[in-house]
Amino acid sequence: MSEREAKKGGMKELSPIDVYMLLPKTNCKECGEDNCMAFAAKVVNREVKIEKCPPLLKKENEKAYKQLSDMLKPAVKEVIIGEGNNAYTVGGKLVMYRHEFTYFNPTAIAIDVTDEMPDEELLGRVKKTEGFEYVYIGTKIRLSMIAIRSTSNEPEKFRVAVKKVAENTALPLVLCSFNPEVLEAGLMTVPKQRPLLYAATKDNWKDMAELALMYNCPLAVFAPNDLTLLKSLAKTLTEYGVSDLVLDPGTFVDEGLADTVNSFTMLRRAACKQGDELVGFPLIGTPITAWLERGSMPQEIALWNEAYAAGMLINRYADILIMHSIRGWSLLPIAILRQNIYTDPRKPVAVEPGMRTFGAPDENSPVMMTTNFALTYYTVASDIESSGVSCYLIVIDTEGIAVDSAVAGRKLTSEKIADAIKQTGVEGKVKHRKLIIPGKAARLSGEIEELSNWQVMVGPRDSADIPKFLQEKWGKD
């Protein structure tokens, strides 16, 4: 198949056998698996790290360990920003296209503050960044980092700002200044926190490298629209001994957007398809440049442009983004996009079919029905929960497909529903025989009634209207 060919130019399939051959093959179970082959299978799926194999770490297996490490090394290096529990790992990409495997380490979204912001604004922005939270398919979506920019170019002001931020947040930090003196003043107040240093340029790289080495920090490299300079700096800094780099080829949100898209794409292709280690580092985008030279342009336009650029860069390989927005309407689509792009395409987004109970249902409680597409299920469940209604919910196995598509694709059928009514034992739980079906499955009403001998009530098209529906229709006849 031709997609396989799409992987040519660097990609190769790694089989459990390749890993197994290098393992101690003692089947000692110390890793928690039944045998070395099972462990190898998990290793190639990146579900466990080889360090979980104690015998492999022994001196006599040093060579095999080294070989395995090289074999499993991602095309894009993993870089850790911050320390301890709050550390955020970026990069670690194995592939260019998400369907080739899956993307690891979701793009970090950093929100900026400056060393000239009044206290109230600075702390307000930190608080909003920390407090940003949206529950989506059962997970909490959050922002990732604070980027502190020196607009004053004064070491003392920067030191004070970094101190204030660090005292008020546990989020990892990005310290931004091209002036090494300024950067060091900030760095001295967080000497062990491993912030990302932004950035080494053609002019300051040596001093920046010294700072990165002295404080053991990852270092960003900035060479706007000059990939040869970017790569040359990466080579120079690597030789200098700085091993954790992050690359910034420059972000243009309007004129030059094509250059930005091309740069990110070329860098990632060179890393993933050609094995170019000098560009095999996480990439950083700065949609915040949408705010430059704003003039009299309304703030909403800068927010809007910043958001679309961020969305394109999450798609095109950015591992970190620095943004200025702290507004929910512009950040929410970006944060959800990140969640989407970083889901594992190998796994269906589905929940277990069967019957769920909400609250304390009795024999008169409503019986509703939905599909096992995770998003549908969690949305319905959260609407039922927030309404406080006690009821039964039958979850039909539609192979993880939403209601209307499942009806169209014959994955949600009257047979399946009638069968689920029998299988779940709901007939022993309630004395009525009324099933509320989603509005989008209205077409199935007649057939369900025929097959199940239950009366069908067509519910709302959106589960947000369930409480209203029940209030108006349930128990009214």
């Binding site: 198949m1 031709s2 130019g9 990609m11 190769k12 790694l14 089989s15 390749d18 074999m71 090394k73 991602p74 095309a75 369907h99 080739e100 989506y136 920019r149 020196s150 170019n153 091209f178 490298a209 706007p224 629209n225 990939l227 040869t228 040359s232 030789e239 420059g250 004129e255 030059g256 957007l257 094509a258 250059d259 091309n262 070329m266 292709r269 560009v279 915040i288 440049t289 430059l292 909403e300 809007w304 200025h324 929910g328 309407w329 512009s330 689509p333 996009l337 969640q339 989407n340 792009i341 889901t343 395409p345 190998r346 987004v349 998003l375 949305t379 993880g400 939403a402 694709g409 989008k440």
Partner: protein
């Protein structure tokens, strides 16, 4: 209450400030309209399961030199970056929509899409063959719309001719999608003849190429498409869509006979897409087929839609003949996401900005997957996508000095 709208000359970008303001005005018009329900037009969504491929990175170049203390470099070490250009054995076919008088139709211009030789916007490799285009949705009856959309079209919602004109004259639509949904037996069950009359009127009112959107009932759509194809012979309409449960021979034959184009629609499954295209080849030349592998909204399965399209395009370039068609996306499906239209807690407000941005983010991601034809809804989203496409295909270079000191910029 007047819209300040994008004009064609905008693409020259000679007056950026005015550009921004007009976009802002489109976005900012949101205080005026009453609360409305929204249409949940969720396209078919089907999951795709990765067949367990396990990928490994390229074999590392084993460093034979141990990391012994080397002298730290004193100068920048030169390392040339060579653009990683690839050759592809395959190419997407070009499909022309609409026909001018000399071509047998009555459109002001014909639009050609497709023809790609590289993945989307790999312009370091090949220039974009034809810029992706945008078709605006027009319905032949009043439909429930999100408040943010409705406020721009509420005066024309029961007049498809006026709606189509608004889309072209004010919103800068490259094309118009005439949705003849009133023929749906579950809606008004109007006759195919009525639908043909509506299309005829719209053809007279605007001179852009048209897409004909059916109601989703395979029998009714086939009947209406047949009549419309005959009535508008030679116009190169795009019939959206031909599906697996239709009488394909009948529909495709009539589309071919009257010189139109088919939109081959499948529910997020490449094998089904190949299969349907293969069936269509019996009746239609390849360059008369556009394909749609289904669009799901941001937050509601966009990643599946994106990945299916990206895989389809890469496979096409790698030589899979059955996927070498321009791609279309029902981007309006972005509005199926509750977060696009719903009133939420104040920290997520205003939804009048959140909604169209939802459509933009959905669209830009599919743009990067290779979509050639977008069917869209909100005028600000349309304008933004157009500007982005213009920029991506302009050949404009980024000026390093413009962003060089962003770190210390006071914003």
């Amino acid at each position: 209450m007047t819209h300040h709208l994008p004009e064609k000359k905008k693409e020259k970008k000679e007056d950026e400030k005015e550009d921004f303001l007009s976009l802002f005005e489109q976005l900012a018009k949101f205080q005026e309209i009453e609360l409305e329900d929204v249409e949940m037009e969720f396209g078919d969504l089907e999951l795709w399961f990765q067949p367990g491929a396990v990928a490994a990175p390229p074999l590392p170049i084993l460093k034979t030199v141990p990391p012994i203390a080397k002298a730290k470099p004193a100068e920048i070490l030169q390392a040339d970056f060579i653009p990683p250009i690839e050759q592809y054995p395959g190419q997407v076919v070009e499909v022309t929509l609409g026909a001018t008088k000399s071509q047998g139709g009555s459109r002001g211009r014909a639009i050609t899409i497709g023809g790609e030789k590289s993945p989307a916007f790999y312009t370091f490799e090949n220039p974009t063959t034809h810029r992706p285009i945008i078709s605006l949705d027009v319905f032949d009856m009043k439909v429930p719309l999100a408040k943010a959309v409705k406020m721009h079209v509420k005066e024309v919602m029961e007049d498809p001719v006026a709606w189509a004109k608004l889309a072209v004259d004010k919103f800068g639509a490259d094309m118009v999608t005439m949705h003849i949904i009133s023929i749906d037996p579950l809606l008004k069950d109007t006759s195919p003849k009525d639908a043909a009359k509506t299309v005829e009127n719209v053809l007279q009112a605007v001179d852009v190429p048209l897409v004909i959107g059916g109601c989703g009932d395979p029998k009714k759509d086939a009947a209406a498409f047949e009549l419309i194809a005959e009535m508008a012979a030679g116009e190169r309409l795009l019939f959206s869509s031909v599906t697996q449960d239709m009488d394909i021979e009948k529909v495709a034959t009539v589309i071919n006979k009257h010189d139109h184009v088919a939109l081959s629609f499948t529910p997020m499954d490449l094998n089904q897409a190949r299969q349907l295209n293969r069936r269509l080849y019996d009746f239609l030349p390849k360059e008369r087929i556009v394909m749609d592998t289904t669009t799901a909204a941001l937050g509601y399965g966009l990643e599946y839609a994106f990945t299916i399209m990206e895989r389809a395009r890469l496979a096409a370039l790698m030589g899979d003949p059955e996927l070498q068609h321009p791609m279309s996306s029902g981007t309006t499906n972005a509005w199926a996401a509750r977060e696009a239209w719903m009133e939420m807690a104040p920290e997520w407000d205003p939804r009048e900005l959140r909604g169209p941005l939802w459509e933009v983010v959905t669209a830009t991601n599919l743009l990067l997957a290779g979509v050639d034809l977008f069917m869209m809804m909100h005028p600000a989203a349309v304008k933004t996508l157009k500007d982005i496409i213009t920029e991506l295909t302009s050949g404009n270079r980024g000026k390093a000095e413009k962003i060089a000191s962003w770190v210390s910029a006071k914003i």
